[in-house]
Each structure stands twice: as structure tokens, then as C-alpha cells.
């Protein structure tokens, strides 16, 4: 896009108060190669000195056409592809997809498989939040917490590796349940992580939460009200940071989440600091859930009877879960054949990213970076 075209872009009509054609205006292309756009996000900033007058996201640099790919794979074959959406939370994606197909098939997943799924998904939430915490804090300039969070994430990835052989793109679940049962020593390792991670989260807190610079950098930065969140369709910790009590695990329990006792942490101000607090508290709640699920894990089958070639009845379905980043929904259309007629992902990152313009306009360049971090986007999921 040439500079002339960019000046004439509709942004000016949206924000008539700004004098975009000031001689001081600087158009800065942040990305697609930039250390803190969390992948290949391109953000066009209209700057007045340090102040951001206008902001526009350009996405699609990581578009792989996953939704189209689905139309040429059988229902089971497509399952590994969803791991590549939000690659920091592959297990959650897997759960979302499997639940959607199971809903379409009307299959009842055995209780043991449900509990196993909860354990692994919550572990995955911990891992995802640790990646977020490390990179978010790194964006704001603190280098050290990144290494701590990645050190602790390693334990979780080791569990994944032992469970299903992969660390990142796990393909942990199958349609109808789980492919693998808990390996020998699974409970001990998971409970060990639960015991271990609490003090380590305290360590992150000691390093970050009370830090004056951190508070100055995050409080009242990237504020978004509850009404705006709902209007934008924002979900997940960003929504809860604004004080809206909406967690699909509580509101539309799936995979036996109704069995577990946990709280949904809420923020009040809807700023970056609140979202940080919400996510860190969520990590503690995840530990609670994992502990309950591991202790309550019963004997039984781990996979329901599902035909070899899955041919769901004709129809369409929308099923969603609470992924670490928000509501991850799958909309499936079946024509009765072995392959999806249409598959549509409702990715939390993509929809949360829309709020960047609202949150960052009028702030400073450094805040834009902080806001991208606090939205916790993964470009694999944004672009699909």
C-alpha cells in the first residue's frame, strides 16, 4: 500500500478528530518481522512523535488455508491439523475439535477419557499461559521471567511427550476419547507439577507483580470496558479482565468440568495489569482442577465405540471450549460423507486482536507492544 493510499484509508473517517496530515506524522510499519509482534503480524502505526494516532493490523502472513484443507481430509485425518492453529495450546485445539465432532456424532465419551482430557488440557493451559507470561514480560523489557517460565513449561511438555510422543503439536486426543491411557508414573508426575508450580508462580509474582515499573507500565494501559469487550466479541482472560464473568467451563460445562471445584478470577479495570493478574490466577485455578481430576481419575475405558470411517449424519453444529486464549469454537457442516463439507474455526486470538485498534489508539508506541502482548495472540490461530 502506498503512502498516499494509506493516508486516504477509511481510518481517517473513523477518527475525524485526528490531524493525520500533520507534517509531524510518521507512518511506521511494525512487522511482519518484528521482535514483539508475536509472529508475523504487521501493525501499521500512524505516529505523532511517540503517540499513536492510528493503528491498523495487517494479517494473513501465516495463512495456510487450514479450513479449506479440512474439506479434503476425513474427519479423523483432520484432527492433527488443528494442533497447528494455536501451537502453544495444541491440546486445547484438539479437545475443541474432538468435542465438536463427537457432538455431531452424538457419541458419549467415557468418564475416564473425559478426566484425562481435563488433566491434559489444563496442563496445556498452564503451558500456554507460561509462554504468554514470559513473552509478555519480555515485551515490556524484563528478560529474566521468560527463562523461568520456559524452564517450568518444560516439565509439562515432558508429560506430553511421555503421554503421546510429541511436545508441541501433540494430537493428544482422538474422536471418541483418548488414544493413549495414562502411562506408568503419570499421576505422580502430574501431581508433582501441581506441587511444584505453585511456589514457582509465587516466584513469578515476586519478580513481576509488585515491581513498580511493571505496575506503571501495565496499569491503565490498554483499557477496554466490559461493554466494548462484549461488542467486539472478545472472550477469555481479556473479557474476564474487564470484569465479565464468562468462562465456558462454568457456563457451558463440557468434558466433566462440572465435577470440579474452581473459581473464575475476574479483573475490574480491564487494563493490562488486570489481565495479567487474571491469567496468573487462572494458572493457580488450573492447578486446582488438575489436582482434583488426577485424584478423581477412575478406571474404565478411554475411548468410545466410534466407527473406523466416520460418517456423521447430515447437519451442522457449533461447539466451543474455553481455550487458554478464549472461546475456541468449531462450526462443522456435514453432508453425510467421510469428509467435512465445511469447517469453520472461531479462533479467540483473531477476534481478540480486533480490539487492538480500540485499545491502542491514543497510547504510546511502547504501549502498543504491551497491548499486543496482553491480548495473547498466536498468529497461527489468527491467520489459520
Amino acid at each position: 500500500m502506498s503512502e498516499k493510499q494509506f493516508y486516504d484509508s477509511p481510518l481517517e473517517e473513523v477518527e475525524p478528530g485526528h490531524t493525520f496530515l500533520d507534517s509531524n506524522e510518521l507512518v511506521l510499519n511494525m512487522g511482519p518481522q518484528h521482535p514483539s509482534t508475536h509472529g508475523v503480524l504487521r501493525v501499521i502505526l500512524k505516529l505523532d512523535g511517540e503517540k499513536v494516532n492510528g493503528i491498523e493490523c495487517v494479517i494473513g502472513y501465516l495463512h495456510r488455508g487450514i479450513e479449506k484443507v479440512a474439506e479434503h481430509r476425513t474427519w479423523a485425518q483432520f484432527a492433527p491439523f488443528v494442533d497447528r492453529l494455536d501451537y502453544t495450546a495444541a491440546v486445547s485445539n484438539s479437545l475443541g475439535y474432538c468435542l465438536a465432532v463427537e457432538k455431531l456424532l452424538s457419541v458419549e465419551v467415557p468418564k475416564r477419557a473425559q478426566y484425562l482430557r481435563v488433566i491434559l488440557t489444563e496442563l496445556c493451559r498452564l503451558a500456554s499461559h507460561q509462554v504468554w507470561l514470559g513473552t509478555h514480560v519480555l515485551d515490556i523489557g524484563a528478560v529474566t521471567p521468560l527463562f523461568y517460565t520456559f524452564r517450568d513449561r518444560e516439565d509439562i511438555l515432558n508429560v506430553f511427550e511421555k503421554y503421546c510422543g510429541a511436545r508441541l503439536t501433540t494430537h493428544a486426543f482422538r474422536i471418541g476419547g483418548c488414544r493413549y491411557d495414562a502411562y506408568a508414573g503419570f499421576y505422580e508426575e502430574v501431581l508433582h507439577i501441581c506441587d511444584d508450580l505453585g511456589p514457582k508462580i509465587d516466584e513469578y509474582r515476586d519478580l513481576i507483580t509488585g515491581n513498580r515499573i511493571w505496575m506503571q507500565r501495565t496499569k491503565n494501559v490498554g483499557c477496554i470496558s466490559a461493554e466494548d469487550c462484549i461488542a467486539y466479541g472478545i472472550t477469555g482472560p481479556v473479557l474476564r479482565g474487564s470484569g465479565v464473568d464468562w468462562d465456558l467451563r462454568k457456563k457451558q460445562p463440557y468434558s466433566s468440568y462440572e465435577d470440579f471445584d474452581f473459581e473464575v478470577p475476574l479483573g475490574t479495570a480491564g487494563d493490562t495489569f488486570d489481565r495479567y493478574v487474571v491469567r496468573v490466577e487462572e494458572m493457580r485455578q488450573s492447578i486446582r482442577i488438575i489436582r482434583q481430576a488426577t485424584e478423581g481419575l477412575m478406571e474404565g475405558p478411554i475411548i468410545a465405540k466410534v466407527p473406523k470411517v466416520i460418517r456423521p449424519p447430515v447437519g451442522e453444529i457449533y461447539s466451543s471450549i474455553e481455550a487458554p486464549k478464549g472461546e475456541l469454537g468449531f462450526f462443522l457442516v456435514s453432508d453425510g460423507g467421510p469428509m467435512p463439507y465445511r469447517l469453520r474455526v472461531r479462533p479467540p486470538s483473531f477476534i481478540n486482536l480486533q480490539a487492538l485498534e480500540k485499545m491502542a489508539t491514543g497510547s504510546l508506541v511502547a504501549d502498543v507492544v504491551a497491548i499486543i502482548g496482553t491480548l495473547d495472540i498466536v498468529l497461527g490461530e489468527v491467520d489459520r
Binding site: 521482535p35 514483539s36 515491581n211 511493571w214 507500565r217 511502547a366
Partner: protein
């Protein structure tokens, strides 16, 4: 030549004051080489300390415990292709790193590593140092402008604003220290050597005189100097997560390494100002309290003993290294390093050497303390935002530093009045 050396050995002043051109040149070379080696060592030190704070090992491959890593890095930077952006302002782009390095090293002309170990002693030493070090911002602005690119431009603008605003708080605290020099003699001095000698006469480091005024001044200075050298948490001009590499974005290879050299050299420079003004410069610990010949000898042995201790550590770890072929180069290197350090340590024990060397040792130790603080800050703190940075500079540090100056003056006057009354 021999006469020159003899003149130097019997001289009690710096070569510059002595008018001894030969030794001035030698000292210039020594200081330049010493600071460069210091920068290289700092690089290794920083990476290691950061690594250990961040639960990793840091450089381990090149040389024992990665000791040769900075040299390998420097070599790689020098042989790298010399890139210049097509639309850059060629001359300014070329001159910017030169300017930065020159100003960073110029300040060392007056830094006293010992009573005679300075290139020269000026009667406006502190002023010269502050003036020269603040010229470095010109190079940064030149670099940002000449790169003809957005990130460097923003980086250099930030740098310019930042350095100018912290310069003031910094100079104010320096004024306070200079005022303290007049306490014993009645006449103050701006000479770096004079300031240290004043601390010796007043039997206290200026950090502890007029408690807590001196300490506050040191505190303000040590914050302002971090901002002045663009280091974390005030590293906005090169904020990686915002401006990629700030004004360094378009620089690579040798030019980049010049900026790197200048950054660390100016860190050492401001640290040595802080050491000279508040921590007694080259003075050994407790020169008055533990005075006397025996204590003098005991303290003068410390530098040699330090070297011998490090040598012993190296040799100890050499004996513990596995005797396998793959480790042969490593272990030989470690043993050789230990051996060299041991020899240096022994040389430093010689009576003629140790009396001249110990000043440098204590000075380096105190400066090293500030350098360690730099690394510590970098691993601990998030980065300030630009407006917050300005707010701290103008609304917090500047008032405090003005208060420090006023308090110093008031307490000084009070002392004088009391002295008059007693007479």
C-alpha cells in the same frame, strides 16, 4: 628513554602535568587498551552473570567457560560485510560511530586510576568528563538521522531527549560532591585527583559525608548514569521489543561493534566518575582507620593475592576436568590461563610493583561494583515507557538533586559557622 623512565618513577604527579610526552603516549595507549580489554571482559562477565541469573549457562564453548567468546565475537564482527543502507547519508553514517567512540574514550583522559595513574589532571576534570560524555549523544542522533529509517530515527530522538534530561540531575549531584571538597581545605576543586585527595583528608568517602546527603547524591547519580548510558531499565533508544534495535538497527559489523565499544566504555566512564566522587576513587579501604605501615603492606598484597586466588581456582578446576581428548584444548587453556594469572599475581607481589598497582586494583574493584549493578538492573527490571522516563528525570531526580545541592550548602555553612564559634 631511560631518563624518561627514571623521571616517571620518581614523579609524584601524572605524566600530563609532568610534561612527560613519552609517558603520556604510553598512558594513552595503556588506557585505550585497558578499557578495550575491560569492555571485552565486561561482555563476557555480563553474559555469564545474566545467564546464571536466568538459569542457563551462557557461553561455554569457546575457551574454558566461554572466556574467548567475546574475542570470537569481535573477530566475527570485524570480518563481517560492511553494509550501508542505499539511502543513508554516507558521510554522517560513517562518522557517527567514530564520534561516539571518540567521546566515550576522551573522558578517560582525566580519570584517576591512582594518584599518578591518570593521563593528566585538569583543574576542571569533572566538568571536562561530563562535557565530553554528553557529546556522545551527537553521535547517536547522527546515527539515527543518517540511517534514513524510522526505527533508528525514533531511537535517536528518544536518546537525545533522555540524555539531555538526565544530564541535569547528574550534574547537580556532581556539584554537591564538588562542594564537599571544600570542607577541610576551604577551597573546593573540580580536579578528579583533588576530589579523591579531599576524601582522604576528610577521612570519609563523600558517599557517607553529610549523611544522608552524600548517599542520596550517589543514589541519584547512579540512577541518572544508567539513563545516561541508555542501559536497562532506561534502554528505550535501543528497546528491542519496540524499536528492534533503535539507532543501531541499520548498523552491522565493525561499525556496530564500535557502538558497542562506546556503550560499554561510557558505562565504565560514568562508573568511574561515581567511584571518584563518592567512593573514594583509588583509596584502599580504611586508609585512615587502619593506617600505618603494616596495614599498608597488608592491603597492598591484596591485588596479588586476588590474582593468585583466581589462578588457584583455575588450576583446581583444571585438575577436576575429565582427561578426555575432546576436552584437551579446554583443559590446557584453563591451565594456561591459571598459569598466566599466577605469574601476574606473583609479579604484583613485588614491592616496587605493588605500591603502584594497588591503586588501580581498588579503583577497578569499585568501578566493577557499579558495572555489576548495571547487569543486575538489566536482568531484573522491565523497561520504562518514554513519558515515565521523562517524568522520573524531571519530576523526581531533578528536584531531589537540587535538594541535595541545597542541603550540602546548608550543612557546609553550618559546619563552617560551628568551627568559627569554637575558635
Amino acid at each position: 628513554m631511560i631518563q624518561n623512565i627514571l623521571q616517571y618513577l620518581h614523579s609524584n604527579v601524572t605524566p600530563g602535568e609532568d610534561g612527560n610526552l613519552f609517558w603520556v603516549v604510553v598512558y594513552v595507549l595503556l588506557v585505550f587498551a585497558g578499557i578495550s580489554v575491560g569492555v571485552i571482559f565486561m561482555n563476557w562477565f555480563e553474559r555469564k552473570i545474566m545467564a546464571h541469573m536466568q538459569v542457563r549457562l551462557g557461553p561455554m564453548r569457546v575457551g574454558p567457560h566461554g572466556l574467548l567468546q567475546p574475542i570470537a565475537d569481535a573477530l566475527k564482527l570485524i570480518i563481517k560485510e560492511d553494509l550501508m543502507p542505499a539511502n543513508a547519508d554516507k558521510i554522517v553514517f560513517w562518522f557517527a560511530p567514530v564520534c561516539v567512540v571518540m567521546t566515550a574514550f576522551c573522558g578517560f583522559i582525566v580519570v584517576p586510576f591512582g594518584p599518578t595513574h591518570a593521563i593528566t589532571d585538569m583543574n576542571i576534570g569533572v566538568l571536562f568528563m561530563l562535557g565530553v560524555s554528553s557529546l556522545g549523544v551527537l553521535g547517536v542522533i547522527m546515527a539515527g538521522w543518517a540511517s534514513n529509517s524510522h526505527y533508528p530515527l525514533m531511537g535517536s530522538l528518544r536518546s537525545g531527549a533522555q540524555m539531555v534530561s538526565y544530564e541535569i540531575a547528574m550534574s547537580m549531584t556532581v556539584v554537591s560532591a564538588v562542594m564537599m571538597t571544600s570542607m577541610a581545605t576551604g577551597t573546593g576543586t573540580l580536579s578528579m585527583i583533588g576530589i579523591v585527595q579531599a576524601q582522604l583528608q576528610q577521612r570519609t568517602w563523600f558517599a557517607f559525608s553529610f549523611f544522608p546527603v552524600g548517599l542520596t547524591a550517589l543514589g541519584v547519580f547512579s540512577i541518572a548514569m544508567v539513563a545516561e548510558t541508555n542501559r536497562a531499565p532506561f534502554d528505550l533508544p535501543e528497546a528491542e521489543s519496540e524499536l528492534v534495535a533503535g539507532f543501531l538497527t541499520e548498523y552491522s559489523g565493525f561499525r556496530w561493534s564500535l557502538f558497542f565499544l562506546a556503550e560499554y566504555a561510557s558505562m565504565i566512564a560514568v562508573s568511574s566518575i561515581a567511584t571518584t566522587l563518592w567512593l573514594g576513587g583509588w583509596l584502599r579501604p580504611f586508609p585512615n582507620l587502619l593506617g600505618g605501615k603494616n596495614w599498608d603492606i597488608a592491603f597492598s598484597l591484596v591485588p596479588g593475592l586476588t590474582f593468585l586466588a583466581i589462578a588457584a581456582l583455575c588450576l583446581f578446576y583444571f585438575t577436576r576436568m575429565p582427561r578426555i581428548r575432546a576436552m584437551r584444548a579446554e583443559s590446557t587453556g584453563l591451565a594456561a590461563f591459571g598459569g598466566v594469572l599466577g605469574v601476574i599475581g606473583l609479579i604484583m607481589m613485588l614491592p616496587t610493583v605493588r605500591v603502584r598497582i594497588q591503586d588501580i586494583y581498588w579503583f577497578t574493584l569499585k568501578t566493577g561494583f557499579f558495572m555489576y549493578l548495571y547487569i543486575w538492573y538489566r536482568t531484573t527490571f522491565p523497561r520504562y515507557r518514554f513519558d515515565q522516563l521523562m517524568k522520573i528525570g524531571w519530576k523526581v531526580l531533578l528536584p531531589i538533586s537540587i535538594g541535595v545541592v541545597v542541603m550540602t550548602a546548608l550543612i557546609g555553612v553550618r559546619h563552617e559557622l560551628l568551627a568559627l564559634v569554637w575558635k
